[in-house]
């Protein structure tokens, strides 16, 4: 049994001077090494949840809060965001808003957090080199980050979070603003990190991708968890569309086959099993 690294206990949050709660009674736990996807339409609370996991809610965004979130046993309300950043990293949508605007080179940008934490220079150089290789940005290490493409900057952003060596990373629609190539490259890196044991919490719109790699899917609607479980369990729930979530196309194929009278004993949500299912349907 792997240890729990994230524990959310009856957590609710409302931004100051807004009418509605952005998150309501969330209650779940995430184990070490898990790949968890959070889905739901815009405004469902995905970003607020991401901010809450890293402590930005309620330490940066103020408002009313109930319940608590524990990251590796540390309460996000009483642990500084800086300290939390060594346990949990965050990457969000707009790459250019994740630059410090203090660096003239990618290397300096990567090192920014280390500078603030007072890490000695020798160690800094070593960590920058290692992260740059993992993020595949070692060839642009001396470039000005403001002159890079969105995909490259997003890899710098991911790197500058991971250089603090957290064991959890939260990705809040971090590929939405990127072109398909840039998006795939980030995703590929994240998959490798997860394979090496990193816990990943990812909010995403690409349902095929969610179905392909999530161990667990959480569906949010108007701040509440409306479904939770393995991709198969979650995507085969009939009321998913009412919560603003469009199931993956592969699932639609399987459902269409079922409707057409083909005997379907399982509902695949990814490519391979769907192909198998279609083959079986053709042969029968």
């Amino acid at each position: 049994m792997a240890e729990e690294v994230i524990r959310v206990e009856d957590f609710s949050f409302k931004y100051r001077q807004t009418k509605k709660y952005a998150l309501k009674h969330l209650d779940f736990a995430i184990k070490k090494g898990e790949f968890v996807c959070v889905i739901g339409q815009n405004g469902s609370g995905k970003s607020t949840l991401a901010s809450a996991l890293v402590g930005l809610v309620p330490q940066y965004f103020v408002g009313n809060l109930h319940g608590r979130i524990l990251i590796e046993g540390h309460d996000t309300q009483h642990t500084s965001i800086s300290e939390l950043s060594t346990m949990i990293g965050l990457v969000f949508q707009n790459p250019f808003n994740q630059l410090s605007y203090t660096a003239g080179t990618v290397a300096e940008e990567l090192a920014y957090g280390l500078c603030n934490h007072g890490v000695p220079r020798e160690e800094m150089v070593e960590r920058v080199d290692r992260i740059a290789r993992i993020m595949r940005i070692d060839h642009i290490i001396d470039k000005n980050p403001l002159e890079l493409s969105g995909g490259q900057v997003q890899r710098v952003a991911l790197g500058s979070s991971l250089i603090m060596e957290p064991e959890i990373v939260v990705l809040d629609e971090c590929t939405t603003q990127l072109d398909p190539m840039g998006s795939e490259e980030i995703f590929d890196i994240v998959k490798n990190l997860n394979a090496d044991g990193m816990t990943v919490v990812m909010a995403d719109h690409d349902m095929e991708r969610v179905a392909r790699c999530a161990d667990c899917v959480i569906v949010l609607d108007r701040g509440e968890i409306v479904a939770q479980g393995s991709p198969n369990e979650v995507f085969s729930q009939p009321d998913l569309r009412e919560h603003g979530v469009e199931p993956p196309d592969f699932l639609k194929i399987a459902l269409a086959l079922k409707e057409a009278g083909v005997k379907v004993d399982r509902l695949p949500v990814t490519e391979e099993p769907t192909i198998e299912l279609v083959k079986e349907a053709i042969h029968s």
Partner: protein, 265 residues
């Protein structure tokens, strides 16, 4: 501003110099020109800065800024101070409408000389120093990381916003927004150009704050370290101390002059 990769400037003797040395020289030499009542002194300093600019591979832009600033202000102040300075007692030229006073002209030379000295020193500092190194050096001598952030972020954000505004401007004029015509028409174009830049940058600010917070910006106790390094060679120290001594001598001379022990100028 110099990028981290502008080797043709950064790898010159002036480019390699410690930023604090350059800043100290600009300050002490400028103050020396300011306090000593010698009207030609600033021009001597400015001439010396030309040599430094040449050593730093920036002679052409340096000369351009010195002359394009120096000539108009000299003419303007020659007129204002020369003819209308309350200091004027000795008149050297009668132009009919007013008389040119010697004291005003000397005062004008002192002002222009001092301004050029500061301009030259700061321009060389600014154009031969990678700003990240300057901030790292200032951090080493105790400047707060927050002040460092404000300096660097301002220098990085402003050009980015200006580029964005030019982008919007091009898009708007492609859609037929007039940026010509009468003053009122041109003014009407102001809001649709500025508005989007302002509102989008405010949301950007909030997200950038998130980034800073998750990268340890709020830490107070730690000593701040830096990836960028500065060398402080014996030459650097000698130049800095030299400039400081020059300033101290200038202070002493000014005081002696003030109490009437010696007479300068």
């Amino acid at each position: 501003m110099v990028g981290a990769n502008d080797k043709h400037i950064l790898e010159t003797p002036v480019g390699r110099m410690n930023p604090i040395t350059k800043a100290g020289v600009a300050l002490f030499v400028g103050l020396t020109a300011l306090i000593l009542p010698i009207s030609w002194l600033g021009f001597v300093f400015t001439a010396l800065y030309f040599i430094a600019a040449a050593k730093g591979n920036i002679l052409k832009p340096f000369a351009k800024i010195i002359f394009s600033f120096g000539i108009p202000i000299t003419l303007m102040l020659l007129f204002i101070q020369g003819f209308y300075s309350p200091l004027n007692k000795t008149f050297i030229l009668d132009c009919g409408f007013a008389k040119l006073g010697l004291e005003g002209v000397l005062n004008m030379l002192h002002i222009v000389g001092t301004l050029l000295t500061f301009l030259a020193g700061l321009y060389i500092l600014n154009q031969t120093t990678y700003i990240g190194r300057l901030v790292a050096a200032l951090n080493d001598i105790g400047m707060s990381p927050k002040a460092g952030y404000l300096t660097l972020a301002t220098l990085n954000v402003v050009p980015q916003m200006q580029r964005r505004m030019h982008g919007i401007q091009e898009a708007q004029s492609a859609r037929g927004l007039s940026t010509g015509g009468s003053a009122l028409e041109r003014f009407k174009a102001f809001i649709p150009l500025l508005g989007p830049v302002v509102l989008s940058s405010l949301t950007d600010a909030q997200e950038r704050g998130m980034t800073l917070e998750t990268h340890g910006f709020g830490l107070k106790e730690n000593k701040h370290t830096s990836l960028v390094t500065n060398t402080n060679t014996p030459t650097d120290k000698a130049i800095l101390y030299g400039a400081a001594v020059l300033f101290v001598v200038a202070v002493v001379l000014t005081v002696l002059n003030g109490v009437g022990i010696i007479a300068i100028g």
